[in-house]
Amino acid sequence: MWKWLHPYAKTERAYQLCLTLQPWFWVGALVCLSIGTVWGLAFAPQDYQQGDSFRIIYIHVPSAILSMGTYVAMAIAALVGMVWQWRTAYMSMIAMAPIGAVMTFIALFTGAAWGKPMWGAWWVWDARLTSELILLFLYMGVIALYGAFEDKQQAGKAAGVMALVGVVNIPIIHYSVEWWNTLHQGATISKFDNPSIAPEMLWPLLINLLGFAFFIGAVTTVRLRNEIVLREMHRPWVQALALDNVPKQTSGSPNGNLKEGS
């Protein structure tokens, strides 16, 4: 059933796929993010309790959802890599990690900036913020582990195991933190728990969610291409690609402009 996917295990095909997908992702991200953001900032109604500070939700919630989504996607990629022995799967896993970490950072930062007017403090140890912070640490762990290996083949496998360990842990972390928070009778009353949200508020949120997803996809394709070039540096097709794209002049390394025949 998944046969059609297999050719993309080859790096060259995966690179081509990235090139084809990339413009659509960028356009999608640009369109959705502009519509969602303008709608959310200017046209969506105010929250009756929180006023206009509520508008931070249009970036906070999508980034928070996608920070977790990206981690799950990484874990899936790692699993695919392990089961089918695909190098490209590991590569796409590691291509996703930095953008996932950025999403987590955005969720944390916007959470803090929203919390300040609502709770009177930049940071409170609320269950969600705490789990999000731990998620950031998990991302950092995967990235650091990958960076620590010189052999990137091995690094991908090790980071993949770490991503899987993390994804198993995410629900456990989430519930334990929630339980811990109720145990300590939460420092604040969470105002995020609006069970229902008006549709005119929901639409821009969904559009922005889509925009962020497109953006993650776009950055992932760029980074996956980077990863492929890095790992396949000595393959002829990469060298041909580089020669086509780099003007002769710019290769200004000491090796490039050395005096000849010394």
Partner: protein, 207 residues
């Protein structure tokens, strides 16, 4: 002229040598021989002043080296088991930082020439840890051509070098001696004809 007078050294309560004296004149190559654990490295480190002997003194041109370190170190080149190159820096960076520490000014082109001489063309800007053991050794040895030192103290300089590397090093040792230099070296392989005349000094393993 390098002189050792009555050197005694003990490591982990075992006496490596006692009352050892030797004289090496300029224009001479001293080949220090001995089984593993005889104390060759310890002797060389004492001769450079890196370690202190339990008793005895090392004289360079008649002056105790602990009294005139700067004068001695201006004339000394020492290469131990450790290459003294940082793995994350390139050969070029390693050498230029080393030269700066030894107050030697040199043009970058000369560095490229020397690195080409030791067979490292194209690897000048690669972090040293990516090089093979022999290539790393060559980076370390390239300093021989960079510092105008009279005294070379080389501890196992041939380790990890291939045939060409050994040949290159032996030739330059011979040249150095003929120019009135002074070399003390250890090696587990015999020095070949290329290295020129040399005097052998045997260090016995003591129990």
């Amino acid at each position: 002229m390098l002189e050792a007078c009555g050197l005694t050294c003990s490591k982990r309560d075992r006496t490596l040598f006692e009352g050892l004296s030797l004289v090496v004149n300029t224009g001479e190559l001293l080949y220090l021989r001995g089984p593993n654990g005889a104390g060759k490295t310890s002797l060389l480190r004492i001769l450079t002043g890196l370690s202190e002997p339990d008793s005895g003194a090392v004289l360079y041109n008649g002056v105790n080296i602990s009294e005139d370190k700067t004068g001695y170190y201006r004339d000394l080149f020492y290469l131990g088991h450790k290459s003294g190159t940082n793995g994350s820096l390139s050969a070029l960076d390693n050498l230029s930082f080393w030269l700066a520490q030894h107050s030697i000014s040199m043009q970058e082109n000369t560095l490229y020439d020397v690195l080409a001489k030791v067979g490292l063309v194209g690897l000048e800007d690669v972090p040293v840890r990516y090089l093979s053991a022999g290539q790393q050794r060559r980076v370390a040895l390239s300093r021989l051509w960079l510092k105008p030192a009279k005294v070379w103290i080389l501890d196992e300089p041939f380790t990890a070098l291939d045939v060409k590397g050994v040949h290159l090093l032996e030739t330059s040792m011979k040249e150095h001696v003929s120019r009135g230099g002074l070399i003390i070296t250890t090696s587990h392989q015999h020095l070949s004809e290329t290295a020129g005349e040399h005097r052998v000094f045997d260090l016995e393993y003591r129990f």
